[in-house]
């Protein structure tokens, strides 16, 4: 690990000033410190943003404002979150371990980097870590990699759970930065690799996430299904977040997001459109999966994700529509 200087910001403004002066923000540190140990991140200056006061959850009209420094554990346990947006609580609780969730924050979770093994191993070629060096995963051990949204340069997933639920819930990322405040819909926050895989998201240098805003509760049935290799403490192979409402035996409204399937948290309105207005049947679920996966491309070890996504989608829709009927 390279030597670094650590300062603590006691307000968002102080944090912004530090970022402006070239510091890197550290929140829970559960991802950044690992990256620093491996020298994949080598900041000379760190500014801890834990004391900026951005750790509140508060009502914002009908919606909810979740401060960037709210811990994952606190967010998932919060009464209003559990009542109004249970999908979010479920997704968070499906992630990592209790120790990590105590430490991890809302903002940090959104910015967590991929778990691609080649990215974390500096003996390997990786365009995300070292632009232009190549992508060792493409023809390597790519069991956990993406089948949607990949590029010639990179096939890594955004691995997290929380953002998948937020995507289905139409969350908005609130930021402050050198060019003033921004409201970035979650759907626009993460970047597909394209030919610039080193940039995971649209944050600009010096920009700070201050909160994530959730719109009014939908009152829908909300299910988060995380498919993984072991029962806990494993990243998703595929995850599905759904928020839907049934009316007279038909799907009246439906928001669907997928994790660890694409290079970014994945949402495809065409899939939702297949479902809306229809009676839930296995055939309909299969049709939705077909639309979802029509451009999916496997790279060998991860080919199974394509049928798995279809199955996970069917299971999730089956569960949500059965619950919705009751």
């Amino acid at each position: 690990m390279k030597p670094f200087v650590l300062d603590h910001a006691d307000s968002p403004d102080a944090a912004l000033a530090a970022l402006d002066a070239g510091a890197t923000a550290i929140a829970g540190g559960t991802n950044l410190v690992d990256l620093m140990k491996l020298e994949l991140a080598t900041p000379e200056k760190l500014v801890s943003i834990r004391r900026t006061g951005l750790d509140e959850i508060s009502a914002d009209g009908d919606g909810l404002m979740i401060g960037a420094l709210v811990s994952n554990a606190d967010c998932a346990a919060h009464r209003r979150v559990r009542e109004g947006w249970p999908l979010l609580a479920k997704a968070i609780l499906a992630g990592a371990s209790p120790q990590l969730r105590n430490r991890a924050t809302t903002g940090g979770n959104l910015c967590q980097r991929t778990r691609c093994g080649y990215f974390y191993d500096s003996t390997q070629a990786c365009n995300k870590r070292e632009p232009g060096s190549g992508c060792a995963a493409r023809e390597g051990f790519n069991r956990i990699h993406a089948v949607l949204g990949t590029s010639d340069q990179c096939i890594a997933t955004y691995p997290g759970d929380m953002a998948v639920a937020m995507l289905a819930l139409d969350a908005v990322v609130m930021t402050e930065g050198p060019y003033g405040p921004r409201r970035i819909p979650l759907a626009m926050f993460h970047r597909m690799p394209g030919d610039e895989p080193s940039r995971d998201n649209v944050l600009e240098a010096g920009e700070l996430i201050t909160a994530v805003r959730l719109p009014a509760p939908t009152g829908g049935v909300q299910v988060y299904r995380k498919v993984r290799d072991r029962a806990s403490y494993a990243f998703a192979l595929v995850s599905v977040a759904v928020d839907l409402a049934m009316e007279e035996g038909r799907i009246a409204r439906c928001a669907l997001a997928f994790g660890s399937l694409g290079t970014v948290p994945w949402r495809d309105r065409a899939v939702e459109n297949v479902l809306i207005g229809e009676k839930p049947t296995p055939a309909l679920f299969a049709q939705a999966a077909e639309v979802l996966l029509k451009d999916a491309q496997g790279f060998g070890e991860n080919d199974f994700k394509i049928p798995l996504a279809a199955r996970a989608l069917a299971a999730t829709l089956h569960e949500a529509t059965q619950t919705g009927k009751a």
């Binding site: 690990m1 020298e39 390597g140 069991r143 290799d229 072991r230 192979l237 798995l308 569960e319």
Partner: protein, 744 residues
């Protein structure tokens, strides 16, 4: 009376002394005496010793698989803050040392044998300075002229017979297969495994003149001293190892590892203590792996389900010139009948870190495959799998003809079945659906050879009436402190608070060390014999024969005479060293621990995820020395079985030979949520041939077949037979029945 105190254990000690003693501590589920230290963080593990002026070393690993080091550009790194040395010494070791080697492994790190091999050590004032410098160190390599393949399945891999085992052949297996009423001929794969001990390998080395002291994490100190001495070309008398607490080893700490030798060399050169701690990633990349295996099992049975033929052939791998070959067929040799036999292991020479002993070498992966194949046969015959097993237990070991010392396999199968509720198992798969989950049950036998290693222990009955047990035996979290104290307490009639146990110092008499499930029976027997010698002296002082002497709660009785132990010592410590070596009983009898596993699993009808819902294990391993620590070993073994069945797999990139999943986030050991309620049944048994304690080994038994029970349950649940471990969902979903269809 002539006591059988000869070192060699040549005749079964039928006296069964422990059962004649009065203290009543042997076998009791007593807590480990060092437990409170461990859970309160006050037990000092290897890297935690405070040594003044200690420098920190960080290993540099090769990022090529094979070649030679051409140049190490140390200058730039030596100028970095805090850096005091860059070493790449001829004495540093290339490979992990095999268990019980007692000599140096391949040395000189200028040759690279596998990706991730340590090639240098950077030493600095702080750990992070050393790590930063290590990452900055530039090394140039020449590629190997004649590289060996990176993939055990490569057609170019050289295939050899193991140097230390011969195939077992009997009759004509091919003919038996052709003529059998039922025949199974299947090929299974098991992947490489990591021992994944909680405590990473770490050593603090320090010299006093020409004397070296190592504080580290090792399993077999007497061997480790010799290995270290050989590495450094010094006298073993000049090496002392202290390892009072070891945070798990599972085979990976049987022999001296890279960090220890590097630390010793650096400390000598710098004339100050040097600590080298491996990172988790380095542990994964450099220490012993369990070889992957490809196993062909052939079973030929007659109409009544009796085996007439049995074939078990395995290909394993290791680096060139390594003697160790995963002894996959070890338990197959004696477990089931079938006079027409072919059991054989072959080794593919490849470039991957050293393959060696990982908990239950041989049986861990051999039994899980054999037991899955047995399930296939039972299914084919349409016979209850327990019945099939019971019908095939030979009276004597096939081919060899040796009798069994003891074997509680039938009892384990029956009592386990009873407790588990095996009668509710459906004979056909896909019969039970609970919501989204297919539910199924599976059974497997457990078997693991019993091993004894020469061991010594010193027991002192002090003038104050307390006892001290001393040996270099290690406690790797298994309960050595507890059971050795219990044996002494039982033999000398002392409550546990009057018995002190000191372990893990190579200057003490050499115990067996921890590994191969032999620690308890070997070192325990040595403790028992030392106590016997003390009893003889006490009897003499009491004026009676040893067998007439009753010792309990610190006092001695013979008839009406009664004296306290303190008085009997006559004010002088009685010191005795007990000793044992494996002798004829190990040739005269087939010795093994046995058991049975029962698993209930759920297979997700949509996603193919497998979760174990409950598991029962019933085990017979001779005398239970401590019901709590023995149970814990069985539990731990079953957890390993779950990992082996469902999640654990070393993933190598065969393009450059590097290990992709070299941390605990991606190498998936079972976590709490993967481990349901596990039931352990301990069967009462006495085995005089195995040891004077009448005990056999238990440390590894709980793994040996466990994964087979899980795999068989998966088949029973959803009708999918996966012949490639681990049973990850990608291998299951292509074969699952339609999730929306109602159960058959």
């Amino acid at each position: 009376m002539a006591l059988p105190l000869a070192d060699l254990y040549n005749t079964p000690d039928e006296r069964n002394l422990l059962d004649t003693m009065k203290q009543g501590v042997i076998g009791k589920p007593l807590d480990r005496p060092e437990g409170p230290l461990k859970v309160s963080g006050t037990a000092t593990y290897s890297a935690e010793w405070k040594r003044s002026d200690c420098a920190e070393g960080f290993l540099v690993l090769a990022d090529i698989a094979q070649g030679t080091v051409k140049a190490i550009h140390a200058d730039k790194v030596l100028a970095m803050p805090g850096v005091v040395a860059v070493l790449s010494d001829e004495a540093m070791i290339r490979r992990s040392t095999q268990g019980t080697a007692g000599e140096a492994p391949a040395q000189d790190v200028h040759t690279v044998d596998y990706f991730g091999q340590p090639v240098a050590l950077v030493v600095a004032e702080t750990f992070e300075q050393a790590r930063e410098a290590a990452q900055a160190l530039e090394i140039e390599y020449d590629a190997a002229a004649e590289p060996v393949p990176l993939d055990p399945q490569s057609p170019d891999a050289k295939i050899e017979e193991p140097s230390d085992s011969k195939p077992v052949k009997g009759g004509d297996l091919d003919k038996a297969m052709r003529e059998a009423d039922y025949a199974i001929d299947v090929e299974y794969d098991t992947p490489g495994h990591a021992s994944a001990a909680m405590e990473p390998h770490a050593t603090i080395a320090e010299w006093d003149g020409d004397r070296l002291t190592l504080r580290g994490s090792y399993q077999m100190l007497a061997f480790n001293v010799k290995e270290m001495a050989d590495c450094l070309s010094i006298s073993p008398k000049h090496v002392r190892i202290l390892a009072p607490y070891v945070g798990g080893g599972f085979g990976s700490k049987l022999g001296i590892t890279h960090e220890a030798v590097a630390a010793a060399i650096a400390s000598k050169q710098l004339d100050r203590p040097v600590r080298v701690v491996m990172t988790r990633q380095q542990v994964f990349q450099t220490v012993m792996r369990r070889s992957e295996t490809r196993q062909r099992v052939r079973l030929a049975a007659d109409a009544a389900g009796k085996l007439v033929g049995l074939g078990h052939e395995a290909r394993v791998s290791n680096l060139p010139d390594e003697d160790f070959a995963e002894p996959v067929t070890q338990a197959t040799e004696f477990l089931y009948g079938g006079e027409n036999r072919l059991l054989k292991v072959e080794v593919a020479r490849i470039s991957r870190m050293t393959a060696g002993s990982v908990r239950a070498p041989g049986e861990a992966v051999g039994m899980q495959v054999l037991e899955a194949a047995m399930d296939e046969l039972a299914q084919k015959i349409g016979m209850d799998p327990i019945e099939l097993r019971k019908r095939n237990l030979p009276v004597k070991v096939p081919v060899e003809g040796t009798p069994y010392s003891s074997r509680k396999l039938v009892e384990a199968l029956e009592q386990g079945a009873e407790s588990f509720g095996w009668d509710k198992c459906k004979t056909e798969p896909c019969q039970t659906r609970n919501g989204d989950w297919w539910i199924g049950m599976g059974v497997a036998s457990a078997a693991r050879v019993n091993v004894m290693i020469p061991a010594k222990a010193r027991v002192t009955l002090k003038a104050d009436g307390t006892a001290l047990v001393e040996t270099d035996q290690t406690d790797i979290g298994t309960g050595s402190y507890a059971i050795l104290g219990q044996i002494a307490g039982e033999m000398l009639g002392l409550p546990m608070d009057k018995v002190d146990v000191v372990l893990g110092d190579s200057e003490l008499p050499p115990g067996a060390g921890s590994g191969g499930s032999f620690g308890a029976i070997s070192t325990g027997s040595a403790v028992m014999r030392a106590c016997e010698a003390i009893r003889d002296k006490l009897a003499k002082a009491m004026g009676c024969k040893a067998e007439e002497l009753e010792l309990q709660d610190g006092s001695a009785r013979h008839g009406d005479a009664r004296q306290s132990l303190g008085e009997l010592t006559g004010g002088k410590d009685i010191v005795e060293v007990g000793s044992i070596k494996p002798g004829k009983t190990f040739k005269d009898y087939s010795q093994a621990s046995y058991g049975a596993f029962f698993a209930e699993v759920g297979v997700h009808a949509f996603t193919g995820e497998v979760r174990v819902r409950r598991m029962t294990g019933a085990f017979g391993f001779g005398r239970v020395l401590n019901a709590k620590t023995a149970r814990s070993q069985c539990l731990g073994g079953m957890v390993w079985g779950i990992g082996s069945a469902l999640t654990e797999e070393l993933a190598f990139d065969v393009r450059d030979g590097h290990l992709v999943n070299h941390d605990l986030a991606e190498y998936h050991v079972p976590v709490h949520a993967d481990v349901p309620a596990l039931e352990v049944i301990l069967l009462e048994e006495r085995d005089a041939a195995a040891s004077p304690l009448q005990a056999k080994g238990v440390g590894e038994l709980g793994i040996c077949g466990a994964a087979g029970a899980v795999a068989n349950a998966v088949y029973n649940a959803c009708g999918v037979r996966v012949r490639s471990f681990p049973l990850t969902l990608d291998k299951i979903i292509p074969h699952l029945p339609d999730p929306f269809a109602s159960p058959a």
